[in-house]
Symmetry: C2
Subunit: 243 residues, 2 copies
């Protein structure tokens, strides 16, 4: 069974969703049969690459402007998000967050998939951005975090210096649009079932179980040819062939 | 879009189905987006490995015994199957067919998938068995045909001398049982749609088009958490995160 998770790196709820999916897998009976693939989604494709300036980012100010609230309300929202994430083991530090463009991070997450280190690299990028104030759009940051997560130093440098995996990122984003995904995290099971947002682990388990139960349900299409009464095209079975 | 075709090598309708699927792909608008995978199905797992004896096999006798008809009727069935296959370009020669166990052939078809030669090897085995009287269960036959189709001589020998890919064959066959596949060829599109038997190319095109149209239709599962009115779990969108 294949699970694809569309998500961004600069995305607190994506980090929470990752933990909840991990918890769901610990409960799900057929976890060994689940292949996980991280898919790319940029929440802000127009973001500048790096964090400009030396000081901290005013995340409270950004949020209060976005929602039209005062700073105290915005701080309250951040505190609730931080507290929720803490229940899942994250130590978000919005006070030192450094926004950036995540396109290059997504390219490296695709490289990591080819090297069987995708989950490790995704995890390292999320922790760097959300907990450690790592400027996630800057090549030096990505280089260090990706290598820490097990990728080859020279290969990471080569990807960062080229446009390798750019098309893979864009393909993921096209697919997201086709599927109607407008926010992340978004979980897709066997290209058939969707779960939107960082829902509780129990809801993810329920989705996995439903998908598992239905995984052998095929919709049989195509009419049998005229004159055939066995409900299918010409076929062979049990060592012989109907003619 | 992924198409998996469960099929055997010792299977006339599987050969016909292969041609019809190829014809369907020539018509289908999104053929470039179709990834094809041949899946294993043994019509007669208990068949002895090789063809015993020197003489030709009495296929007419086998068929008349199977269907309880006289030899003339059995010959008529064979003639009709041969004529149908000829319309798709096959030159079946039932007069010189040499049955055998196809398990090793399936193992090599799996090796071929890893070497990007799966379709070529599948084609070569079908032609060898159905047109050329190749004893398809015998290692020397498989070795020669697989190398002709582009596989590496030493690697083929290594697979034949070991049990490599045996588990992959069995996994395909387990999956066939789970999906309720009792005869082949059987086409599965995106693990969602099934087409049973060697149906006409037009029916296969119809199935491909239906699957294509529905490929972005997700069933959204999982209830939103209590108190959330945005119909989904906590999510980030448009560069910001609902809290």
């Amino acid at each position: 069974m294949q699970v694809e998770i569309w998500s961004d790196v600069a995305c607190p709820w994506c980090a929470v969703g990752k933990r909840r999916f991990e918890a769901a897998l610990r409960t799900f009976e057929h976890a060994d049969d689940v292949a996980l693939r991280w898919r790319s989604f940029e929440l802000d494709p127009s973001a500048p690459r790096g964090h400009d300036g030396e000081g901290d980012v005013d995340y409270v100010g950004r949020l209060s402007a976005k929602y039209g609230t005062d700073r105290a309300s915005a701080q309250g929202m951040i505190d609730r998000m931080t507290a929720t994430a803490a229940e899942d083991g994250w130590r978000f530090r919005f006070d030192r967050i450094r926004p950036g463009n995540t396109f290059d991070a997504h390219r490296l997450v695709h490289l990591a998939a080819d090297r069987d280190r995708q989950d490790q690299v995704k995890e390292r990028f999320l922790a760097g951005y959300l907990e450690e104030g790592a400027p996630i759009g800057e090549p030096a940051t990505l280089q260090a975090l990706a290598v820490e997560a097990g990728l080859d130093d020279a290969e990471v440098a080569d990807v960062l210096a080229s446009d390798r995996y750019a098309e893979a990122v864009r393909a993921d984003e096209r697919r997201a649009r086709e599927l109607g995904i407008s926010g992340v995290p978004f979980f897709v099971i066997d290209r058939r079932y969707g779960v939107s947002g960082a829902q509780p682990a129990a809801a993810l388990v329920q989705a996995l179980e439903q998908a598992w139960a239905d995984r052998s349900t095929l919709t049989v299409v195509g009419a049998p040819p005229p004159g055939h009464d066995h409900g299918a095209g010409d076929a062979c079975a049990d060592g012989s062939c109907a003619v």
